[in-house]
Amino acid sequence: MAWQDVKKKVKRQISEILEIPGDVALDLPKIILFGNIQFYIENHRGILEYSPERVRVSVGEGEVLVEGENLILRNILPDELCVEGRIFSLRFD
C-alpha cells in the first residue's frame, strides 16, 4: 500500500497549495454539527447501521459513528444525510 500512501500525500499537498477544499479534492466528508441536536454530513457512502442510539455512516475511508438517543434520519439524499436527536458523541473509525 506504499504507492497508495504516496498518492494520498501528494494529493493532500496539492490541495493545500491550491487551497482546494478537502471534500472536493480528497473525497472527505463535510460534517456540520448544530449543537448536539443535528448532525449533517455531505459526501457519504451509505448507512451501515441505524438504530435510535447509534448511526454508523460509511465515508470515503472508514466510517463515522454517531451515538445519542432518539436519533432519526431526517433526510437522506444520494450524498447528503441529516440526523436529528440528542447526540452524545461523534467518532471516526
Binding site: G46, L73, R74, N75
Partner: protein, 413 residues
Amino acid sequence: MFLFKLISFLLGYVTILVTGDAPEKLINMAASRGISLWDVTRTGDGGIRLKVRVNAVKPLRHMARRTRCRFRICSREGLPFYFARLRRRKALALGAVFCVGVLYLLTSFVWFIEVRGNEQLSSAELLEVAAEAGLARGVPKWRVETGVVEAKIIERLPLVAWTGVYIKGTKVIIEVAERTLPVEEDQQPAHIVAGKAGLIKEVLVVSGHPVVKEGDTVVPGQVLISGVIPAVEETAPGTEPESGQKPREIKPAAYVHARGIVRARVWYEGYGEVPIIEEGRRLTGNTETRTSIKFEGKEIILSGSKNIPFEYYEVDTLVKSLPSWRNLTIPVELITTKYHELADYRIERSPEEARRLAEERALQKALASLSPNTRVEKQWVEEVQTGNVENLVRVKAIIEAVEDIGTDKHFKP
C-alpha cells in the same frame, strides 16, 4: 428544505414500514439511486418507518425484493391523496363549493352605505334620496348605477353642490360637498344689551333707538340700543302746544331688530403672586416606564426595572383590560405604569425680580380673560400691600380695553 417538503406535499408521499434483516441496505440502495427518504425512525420491533414520495414506491418495491426486505404502506398523504379522498366524499366537496358560491353571492349585494361630507343635511335625507334612485341596503350591486344616484341627489337636494358615489366591496360611499348659503338675517325684534360692565365710548346705531350715550356707565344686561322705536310725535305746526291736547302722531311706535356697535372701555384685572423664597418639589423630566400583566392578583413585570430608581416620584397608571362579554370577564390586565421623578428645589429671588415675575403673571392672567378682537388701550400694574412683611409679592394688573360690548337679546313686544 421547505421547498422540498412543499413539492413532496404536492406530488404526494407515503409513510412505509420496512421490515427485514437489514433495512439499512434498502435505505442505502434507495439513496444511491437518487430516491430521497426522510423522517426515518426505528420502530420498537426492528422495523423502520420512513417517508418517501409516491412516484418512488414502485422502484422501491424492486429494491426491497433485491435486499430481501418487506414493506407496507402505512399512510398516504399529500394533495393527490386528499383529492382522491375528496372525490369519495362528494357532500363535503359540494359543501365547499356551495360555501364559496354563497360567499360570492353575498358579496354582490350592498351591505353598508356610508355618507360623508354632509354637515347641514342629515344622512337620513341623503339615504332617502339614494333609495329613490335605487341605492339601498340589500340591493344587488349590479343594479346600482352610481351616475343615476349622483344625478338624483344633485337634482333633489339643491344644497348639494357635488356628489360622488363609489362602490367599495359591499360598501357604498356617498360623498357630498355642500353649498354654503348666506346666513339669513334674524328679523325678530331684539335689543342690544351690555355683555359686560364698562364706560361707553361710542355708540353707532344701524337700526334701533339708542338708550345710552357716550360717557355713560353700564352694567351687564343693561339695554344699550333698544329695539323699540318710540312714536314720533309732533304738534301741528302753527299752533301753540296746549296742555291737555294730545300731540299728533306722525309715525307709530315700531319694533325692530336693533343693530349697531357700542364700544366701551372695559377693565380687566389679573392677579399674580410670587414668593421671594420658593421651595417645593417638581418634575425633573426623568421617567421610568414599567409594563406588567396582572393575572388574578399576581403582577408579572414584562419590561422595566423592578425597583424604581427615584427617591420621590409621581405615578401615572394606565390599565388596559379586555372587554367583557356578558358576565364573563377575562381576569388579565395590561398595566403600564409611568414613574416621573420629582426633585426638591429652592429658589431665592431678589424683591425686584419677584416683583417683575409677579407682574408678568398678573398681566398674563388679565390678558387671558380678554375676549378676542379687543384693542388694549392702557395697562398698568400695582403692588398689593397687605401691611405685614411676608415672603410673597402680590401684584394686580389692570388692562383697559375698548371693545364692542353689545349682545343681542330678543324680546316680546
